[in-house]
Symmetry: none
Subunit: 234 residues, 2 copies
């Protein structure tokens, strides 16, 4: 899958409608994960990192609003679109209260959904450009340029970083001296939290440690069962 493909979590209990909609969005170049109910939706949300959630409101066991609230607890920025059969005003209000970005009444014009998705993702994109503009980090006597993916030591040695090395070091640098939970690194970078991705991450930690050896003050510490800490010693 391409790097820049936007990832959408679609939670819809009607299997026919769900798969059709998933296919439609896939054709239009989105990476769609389909969940058949609120439970499954939440599990899938926790294990990965999405740019947008499309939630059916009427679902058995756990309705869309409840799911939206749970999602909001984990991520207070991810855009949410609700799908609903009826156009009840109180529902719309309830939706906006849990932070809906938009609302669509079924049956809806698929083109409208597509345009709304575009608009929402674009909007978030513009916003995030402003705050995630930070791509230069000081790490002891190192400098990380995470846009051009290299690490310089004292201005002379230049170490090229692979995408994963780069993202991981950037994440550690963002939380410098603080704990970077394994779980978060995995969902953000690997988009899946399982045994293998976890071991893969350990391999990358080893690689980063090798690079960072040039400055003995800089260390990546492990916190058993929790995650890692990038620390700068005095």
């Amino acid at each position: 899958m391409e790097e820049n493909t936007k990832r959408i979590l679609l939670v819809e209990d009607d299997p026919n409608f769900g798969t059709v909609l998933k296919e439609y969005l896939t054709i239009h170049n989105y990476d769609v994960v389909l969940a058949k109910n609120g439970m499954e939706g939440y599990e899938k949300f926790k294990k990965s990192d999405f740019h947008l959630c499309i939630l059916d409101v009427m679902m058995p066991y756990k309705d869309g609003f409840t799911l939206a609230q749970e999602i909001r607890e984990k991520d207070k920025d991810v855009p949410i679109i609700f799908l609903t059969a009826k156009a009840l005003k109180e529902d719309v209000l309830k939706g906006y209260k849990v932070g809906a970005d938009d609302y669509l009444n079924k049956p809806f014009d698929s083109e409208v959904l597509l345009l709304k998705i575009q608009a929402i993702i674009q909007r978030k994109n513009v916003e995030s450009v402003a705050d995630s503009k930070q791509f230069e980090f000081e790490i002891g006597s190192f400098k990380l340029n995470s846009k051009l993916r290299f690490l310089t030591h004292n201005g002379d040695t230049q170490i090229k970083l692979s995408p994963k090395e780069n993202e991981l070091l950037r994440l550690l640098a963002l939380h410098i001296n603080d704990l970077m939970p394994r779980e978060i690194a995995l969902t953000k970078i690997w988009r899946d939290d399982n045994y293998f991705t976890s071991r893969s991450m350990d391999v990358y930690i080893a690689k980063l440690r090798k690079y960072l050896k040039l400055d003995p003050k800089v260390e990546i510490l492990n916190i058993h069962g929790e995650g890692f800490r990038l620390v700068i010693n005095p």
Copy 2:
């Protein structure tokens, strides 16, 4: 009037439909100028500066396509949306040929129009950031004239560039020392991002590297999976 309000030229011969649509767009915070026919539309276009034109296709004396062509001569970038009652394929083709950005069949959902307006203006916004009219560049000991398509080294050797070589080098020069994402070069120059255009681009990178060998300080570096960087070493 607000600073950031987008200006729309609306050309529509049906006075009822025209005023209703104008009001609708005005409510949604656009600054709308309404023209009742192609003649008037062209006059109003010349006299002001618009972010978007919405043209009815079927108009007496001067139809939307003819008007679009005249507008294109004056401004080759302004987005154009056509409104049409019939969905004739040849019309759509004709429209895209004169550079239509989108197409809407009457009667249409006003929300769709609004979303399309948003999307188009946003897109142009993003594109225009990088797209200056600059055509002369210093690249180490080279000079690129991208209007006349040649590259000179120290003023003596003159290398003629093919259109693609020229556009690619210009794009790299616009982002000098910075990343030029592959994806962007492909959509801007090749207008399509697929395996073959991507390989074609690699061929052109090789050609440019051969030209640029005359100055060892000038390099085109690859950032694996991301794109290229034109760098000038000290």
